[in-house]
Amino acid sequence: MKYTILVNEGPYQHQASDSAIQFIRAALEKGHEIFRVFFYHDGVNNGTRLTVPPADDRLIQKAWSELAEKHGLDLVICIAAAQRRGIMDADEAKRQGMDANNIAPGFRISGLGQLVEGGIQSDRLVVFGD
């Protein structure tokens, strides 16, 4: 079965990112396909590579990037939500005249149409958030 996952909550806020990661791991293990993971609202904060949690805490951003690399996941960050929260890739940083970018490996920035397409193309849309 084909899934799109929507993450609406930032990492370390409650548990939504952790739940989504565990759900995706279990789904992949069962042979399901993850068509796309879309990060919206504060969920875009999952995609900054500059997070440095304490040494004894879990690395949520790294878990996403590793999942993306291992399974070829399409991790898409909503551009409007990202701009509000200072999440930038190189192109966007240049366009906005910023001196740096912070997008994490495996993530890309795009529009809400990607969420709509995920909903249409997938058998299930499962939402995690606040």
């Binding site: 079965m1 409650h14 548990q15 759900f23 279990a26 789904a27 069962k30 399901h32 299930r124 939402v127």
Partner: protein, 101 residues
């Protein structure tokens, strides 16, 4: 069309769980994850509503989240404990899912 309702907030924090119970149809499934798992414990001011829902709906709890809160083995009789693989199966076996955020 059977629906899986996913609840992730304590019924004592938000009304989402209560709203879910009033909207879910007979034959639907409800899974408690994250802080919603406290709704699985008997003897609270909310447990009667969950018991009533079990008359025509199946109620599940994510075992890992229950255990993480020290509530292992404290779920009411009739509530089915599942792992993440079981959670995935529920999303696949129901026609659609609704997260009560």
């Amino acid at each position: 069309m059977a629906m899986l309702h996913i609840v992730n907030k304590s019924p004592f924090e938000r009304v989402a769980f209560d709203s879910c119970l009033t909207h879910a149809n007979a034959g639907d499934s409800i899974i408690m994850i994250e802080d919603a798992v406290v709704g699985a414990v008997d003897g609270s001011s909310f447990s009667g509503k969950v018991k009533a829902a079990m008359a025509d709906k199946t109620v599940y709890v994510l075992g890992a989240d229950l255990a993480a809160r020290g509530l292992d083995g404290k779920a009411m009789d009739g509530i089915v404990s599942v792992d993440y693989a079981g959670f995935v199966d529920l999303t696949a076996n129901n026609d659609t899912t609704q997260s009560w955020l």
